[in-house]
């Protein structure tokens, strides 16, 4: 009697959420796929079948090629930079120095603010103006005598997107630091002590023991940061607005759909983004849950 009532309550409690996620995630994805296979152009929905025409046009579209190139450059710089910096910071903070907590909070605080705020500030720091109008970091470099560092930031041809990645590294490297710190703390002390007794130097301990043991952390960081860079949007908008040289799929999708009203093509970009994220994330979720079940 009681058990039936409990089972009923169970289902009653959780079904609204499951239903909401089912509709807003899975039904909507299906709906998007359908839109991406339609001729919908203009304000009114038009589901006339168009096959994979929208996808084919995208693959042939020079703007989409720029998007792919930019995403690759951004991902490379951002993921490598955040992992490298985060790892170095974590190792330095793992040495038991006084003030560790203070530095840790300081390196992590950019995570608490929005990409928009970060973008608005970095837009002025990376001001590309030259001559008497030089300002921001370029001005700082000039004043410090580091003229060789003065550059055009996001207005640099082809590689401009890397400057955006720099701001993203500023925002996210504290996060990889936290992941690595948690990983370092999980390595048993005995392992390090044993290696030390065997005469290993600190560098060797990191090279041959810590870094290999941290590879699951590195993999998580690669996946989480990698999927974030596929979605990058706000930061670019806040630093540079919608400029063709800094275009990425998320911005193209937004413009072609809501400014251009090419809903079919916009949906196709959304679905391509989803596929690229899913390739990274689905194995990650499966792996995480499997490991969890084993414990």
């Amino acid at each position: 009697m009681l058990r039936d009532k409990d089972r009923f309550l169970n289902i009653l409690l959780i079904s609204p959420s499951i239903l909401a996620v089912f509709i807003f995630v899975y039904v909507f994805i299906g709906w998007s796929v359908r839109v991406s296979l339609s001729k919908w152009k203009g304000l009114n929905p038009d589901y006339t079948w168009n096959g994979i025409q929208n996808y084919l046009e995208l693959f042939a579209d020079p703007r989409f090629h720029v998007d792919i190139r930019n995403t690759l450059i951004f991902t490379g710089v951002f993921v490598f930079g955040s992992i490298f910096l985060g790892f170095i910071l974590a190792v330095m903070l793992d040495q038991g120095l006084k003030g560790e907590g203070f530095f840790r909070s300081l390196f992590l605080f950019p995570m608490a603010i929005s990409y928009i705020v970060t973008g608005v500030v970095w837009r002025w720091l990376m001001n590309p103006a030259t001559g008497s109008r030089t300002s921001g970091l370029n001005l700082l470099f000039t004043n410090l005598g580091l003229d060789s560092l003065v550059n055009a930031w996001h207005t640099t041809p082809t590689w401009g997107i890397a400057a955006i990645a720099l701001a993203a590294i500023w925002q996210m490297s504290g996060y990889t630091m936290v992941l690595y710190l948690a990983g370092l703390r999980a390595i048993p002390q005995e392992l390090k002590e044993a290696a030390q007794i065997d005469g290993a130097s600190r560098l060797q301990i990191y090279r041959y023991i810590m870094i290999p043991l941290l590879s699951p952390v590195t993999l998580s960081a690669l996946i989480i940061l990698g999927h974030m860079s596929l979605k990058v949007f706000d930061l670019i908008i806040a630093i540079a607005g919608k400029q063709l040289p800094l275009d990425v799929p998320a911005i193209y999708m937004w413009q072609i759909t809501f400014d251009g009203l090419f809903y079919g093509k916009g949906a196709a970009i959304g679905i391509l983004l989803l596929i690229s994220v899913a390739v990274l994330i689905i194995p990650y979720i499966r792996h995480t849950l499997k490991t969890e079940a084993q414990q």
Binding site: D6, L9, N10, I11, L13, I14, S17, V21, F24, V25, V27, F28, I29, W31, S32, P45, M92, D94, Q95, G96, F103, L106, F109, P110, M111, A112, I113, S114, V117, V120, V121, W124, L125, R133, T134, S135, G136, L140, W170, V178, L179, Q189, E193, Q196, L230, K231, D234, A238, P249, W254, G266, A267, G270, I271, L273, L274, A278, I281, Y284, R286
Partner: protein, 273 residues
Amino acid sequence: MKVKLRLGDSWLYIPLIAMAIFYLLPMYVIIITGFKGFEEIDLKTMWDLPKGIAFDNYIEAFSKLSPSLWNSFAMVIPASLISSALGSLNGYVLAKWKFRGADAIFPFILFGMFIPYQSIMIPLVQFMRGAGISGLPGLALAHVIYGIPITTLTFRNYYASLPQELLEAAKMDGADMLGVYRLILLPISLPSFVVVLIWQFTSAWNDFLFAVILTGNKDWPITVALNNMAGSQIISWNVQMAGSLLAALPTLLVYIFLGRYFLRGLLAGSLKG
């Protein structure tokens, strides 16, 4: 091995302080610019300390941004409360009252927190239009629903870590499942609620994508208003800097005072909690 501070490690403070400067540089510019008087504003002296303390920039920025600051609060507070409450109930059911298929459903819920929202954006806008939901309530609804995966995950992991015996005793005394939740779990869930509330507050406050597609200019939350302010030619950069600080302040204060909980949310979000 890392027990005592060896004198030989003191040099590490040099790179650490250099990094601290790198992380603080943007904040330095925001803050000093904010306190400069209008007559002092010049891009050429942007790194110089202010000559006195003035509030012109903050007053100007606040007068432009205050409606959207209130919009943000009005949307973020209910959205975080509702998605946290739902997450707690879902987590409870998924961790402690596993019905058949519960384990199969969970990864599908989880995937929802990683999807690029571009892949559901067109249906979302169509749905809201069709349902006649617009502006802030629509935005809050989106944050509640797309927040369910992370809130459910955090609570599920917490409840799963509690021993089953804790529940059995209350069940023996005749409590039904809601009774067990209310009497046993809810009172010890406060830390998890703080983690989840902070996480939801921060992500909804900082969101731009949903806000920009679901709200019009009367309903703009702070991120959209700030971005538009930064894109306009009329509003000078010093006011933008002051506006950035106003936009960042609520989440920064939460971070400063409740950083520990923020950290736990962060780890949960990467499935590492």
